[in-house]
Symmetry: C2
Subunit: 216 residues, 2 copies
Amino acid sequence: MNQKAMYKLSYGLFVITANRDGKDNGCITNTVVQVTSEPNRISVTLNKGNYTHDMIADAGVFTVSVISENAKFDLFKRFGFQSGRDVDKFADYAFCKRADNGTMIVTEGTNAFLSGKVIQSIDLGTHTMFVADVTDMEVLSDVPSATYVYYQENIKPKPQAVGKTEDGQTIWRCRICGYEYVGEELPEDFICPVCKHPASDFEKIAPAVETEAEKR
Amino acid sequence: MNQKAMYKLSYGLFVITANRDGKDNGCITNTVVQVTSEPNRISVTLNKGNYTHDMIADAGVFTVSVISENAKFDLFKRFGFQSGRDVDKFADYAFCKRADNGTMIVTEGTNAFLSGKVIQSIDLGTHTMFVADVTDMEVLSDVPSATYVYYQENIKPKPQAVGKTEDGQTIWRCRICGYEYVGEELPEDFICPVCKHPASDFEKIAPAVETEAEKR
């Protein structure tokens, strides 16, 4: 079994937003797909550890904003690299408007939105899959949708070739979101605090290689 | 509501294969996604009208071959444009080998395979979603995975600018698979016999436009 076969599956990227008791929040996901066309239904699968997961489970509605190739890395940092439990991700954020179902639409670095009303929640262990009727949707731009591969190759900053911290400790980086863990060994049961992926999705950053120029 | 927002969702493309009572079959789908990583599980959603759907429902195992950018249109014709009820799709087909779970792996125009054992079947109306443990997987090549957009732009033959048949009838083409229906009006309840998509996924082929060269 070669685990890398999993990386051959293609995905889009999305901001999924929720509103509970007047509070807005959203997170990045790659799990939005159409499941039936008659009626028009989509599914989104979220880790139970995500704050947005709990908000959607309670409120029963959400909006998916489809991320396009012109999205900036800042969009991913804002919605993907921090938790709505700690910060208000929509504070001082101008690139959004409110959908009819009360949740936010992200309007920059996106090319469409789909609002959903949950009709079924499926327990998948670590995750819940929400199946939803599409209640509203519009195209926002003609820029192509960003795939997960496009994000990795063109939006995410290239990792610097630093293998150790300044004081000599090993750095492990989450291949999914870029979160860095410092320590000689990564605990086997470690879970990325940002994207909730397991230790198997972390890689030791390759030690810096001296270039010919640096040797001189 | 602009239905075209649905086309902004990104998908990969896959051959999903099954074996029941010694008979092999497979179809093209865009619905394979990872749903959890601990344990490693994928889902695939198939129309209940598909023969492969019934075979997987009975046999409980399948294999997904991930289609790559070097796939030929013939692969889509073989597995997507005909039904296993009518033909043996693996007859005289050399580009395959048998997986440990007894189903076929397609080895040309693909870059990986994942074998699945169904642990849950979710009724979604017109479709069934099969959630499966990944029991085996390997990488087959380094060619990038074909997205649905890549298929539309680079693999599917460009439609010829013919708006009418030779005897003057209107042609409707399925945007999903390319199936053509001939008739002045497409019935509202029409279902594509190949990919099972509804009438709303058909478009009237634009009438041929005379070029300047042709006018002379």
